[in-house]
């Protein structure tokens, strides 16, 4: 790895300045959040690094319509945030504890995590089902759902992701996350996240996603439909998990086969829904 090619390390103090610097730098400039990915796999053509952490973007604030996490907050800051812990009974905390190790989470930022869009990301599937909204800046601010963000990755040509908003949890909101990996400190062979909003014992709103399939996390709409308006009993869970298994788009890579991943989709969805069902019962 040759790091001497990099000649500039810039620390702009506003999004405007950062954007200008990036545009000036053209293809050879990169934003840096925590820099974990950039330092690890520094592309050969990069000569200018633009560190976003001097912009004041690291706060985590709880408002009426949710929790707004600044893009340069580290994953551990998110994990340790009391307001984040209140989202769906700590589901974000459960997930974050499984991201790399604390040594990584003290470096990696939420913005870098969402921008790097690793197919095996643990954050993305959960944020998908929590219906997180991101705010981007490319001269003007835009807010869009995570789903839309990844629908067209062109969003990232030069945009700065400035924050992500997690909707506040309401009564009846439940979510769970499950990760399969080879060891306790590993990226996912596959991961699943489920969210349900329960009204009168029935799943009024459902979102289910699987990541590391090995493609970028995606919603499993047929499984969602199967669960929609149903009660979370064992038979339903089994049925939903089977539909998820049958409809998930999986493929082979060096870590696992597509066939095996389908089996993991089944088990992962089942474990998530079981966990939610247990919480539901406990809540009664």
């Amino acid at each position: 790895m040759s790091r001497r090619q990099v000649t500039n390390y810039l620390r702009p103090s506003s999004p405007e300045e950062a954007l200008t610097l990036l545009r000036n730098g053209g293809n050879s400039a990169r934003y840096v959040g925590g820099g974990a990915d950039v330092a690890r796999t520094l592309p050969g053509d990069v000569t200018t690094l633009i560190d976003l952490c001097a912009i004041n973007l690291s706060s985590i604030e709880e408002g009426a319509d949710g929790i707004v996490i600044g893009a340069t907050a580290t994953l551990n800051e998110v994990l340790e945030s009391e307001s984040v812990a209140r989202v769906c009974d700590g589901v974000i905390v459960d997930m974050m504890r499984k991201v790399g190790s604390p040594l990584l989470r003290n470096i990696a930022t939420v913005g870098g995590t969402l921008a790097s869009a690793h197919s095996w990301s643990d954050v993305i599937p959960l944020f998908l089902v929590l219906d997180a909204q991101v705010t981007l800046y490319n001269g003007e601010y835009r807010t869009l759902s995570i789903a839309d963000l990844y629908a067209s990755r062109r969003e990232f040509v030069d945009s700065i992701l400035t924050s992500v908003r997690i909707p506040a949890s309401a009564a009846g909101d439940y979510a769970a996350f499950h990760k399969f990996s080879r060891t306790g400190y590993d990226i996912a062979l596959l991961n699943c996240a489920c969210y349900v909003h329960v009204v009168d014992g029935r799943c009024a709103q459902v979102r289910i996603a699987a990541g590391g399939t090995p493609r970028l996390a995606a919603r499993l709409s047929q499984a969602e439909d199967t669960l929609s308006q149903a009660m979370l009993d064992n038979d339903t869970i089994e049925r939903v998990a089977r539909v998820a298994q049958d409809t998930a788009q999986t493929a082979d890579d060096k870590r696992a086969s597509g066939e095996y991943r389908k089996q993991l989709v089944y088990a992962g969805v089942k474990r998530c829904l079981r966990e939610i069902a247990q919480k539901l019962e406990g809540g009664r």
Partner: protein, 157 residues
């Protein structure tokens, strides 16, 4: 080259660093050899230091990013020839075999114990999960962290 200031082990120092240079490269080049190199990709934890109070793998942190910050390495744990309780605990519990992972483990422990003075076994394992050791099987390191916590609590009394 970029000029930065770092407070390393309590000493404020100025350095001229490459824009792409990592904190690991800087620290080793400046003589902090406790900071070990095992992968240079954030996978092994041998290069762990405490940066602004938190343990990080210094091989995937740009040195320039740390500008203005404080760094603690294993060299800075010992004071006046007296071992830090964490170092003492690692030594006494037999948690050190080849010792290559040891400074990194100690720094991860330092972060853990400064935020959680009485961690459970699972909290210890999670905190040190990114510090790979090929020699020990980790049994004695988990014990060492517990012992270190006790020693520190004892000193505080």
């Amino acid at each position: 080259m970029i000029d930065i200031t770092l407070t390393i082990n309590g000493e404020k120092r100025r350095f001229s660093v490459g824009a792409g240079e990592t904190l690991l490269e800087l620290l080793r080049r400046e003589g902090y050899k406790s900071v070990k190199k095992g992968c240079e990709s954030g996978d092994c934890g041998a290069c762990t230091v405490v940066l602004n109070g938190r343990a990080v793998t210094s091989c995937i942190v740009f040195a320039a990013k740390a500008d203005g910050g404080t760094v603690l390495t294993a060299e800075g744990l010992e004071s006046g020839g007296v071992l830090h309780p964490i170092q003492k605990a690692f030594l006494e519990e037999g948690a050190v075999q080849c010792g290559y992972c040891t400074p990194g483990m100690e720094m991860a422990t330092y972060d853990l114990l400064s935020h959680n003075p009485d961690p459970s076994a699972i909290e210890i394992k999670e905190a040190l999960s990114g510090n790979l050791c090929r020699c020990t099987g980790y049994v004695k390191q988990v014990k060492a962290v517990k012992t270190a916590a006790k020693k520190i609590a004892g000193e505080a009394k």
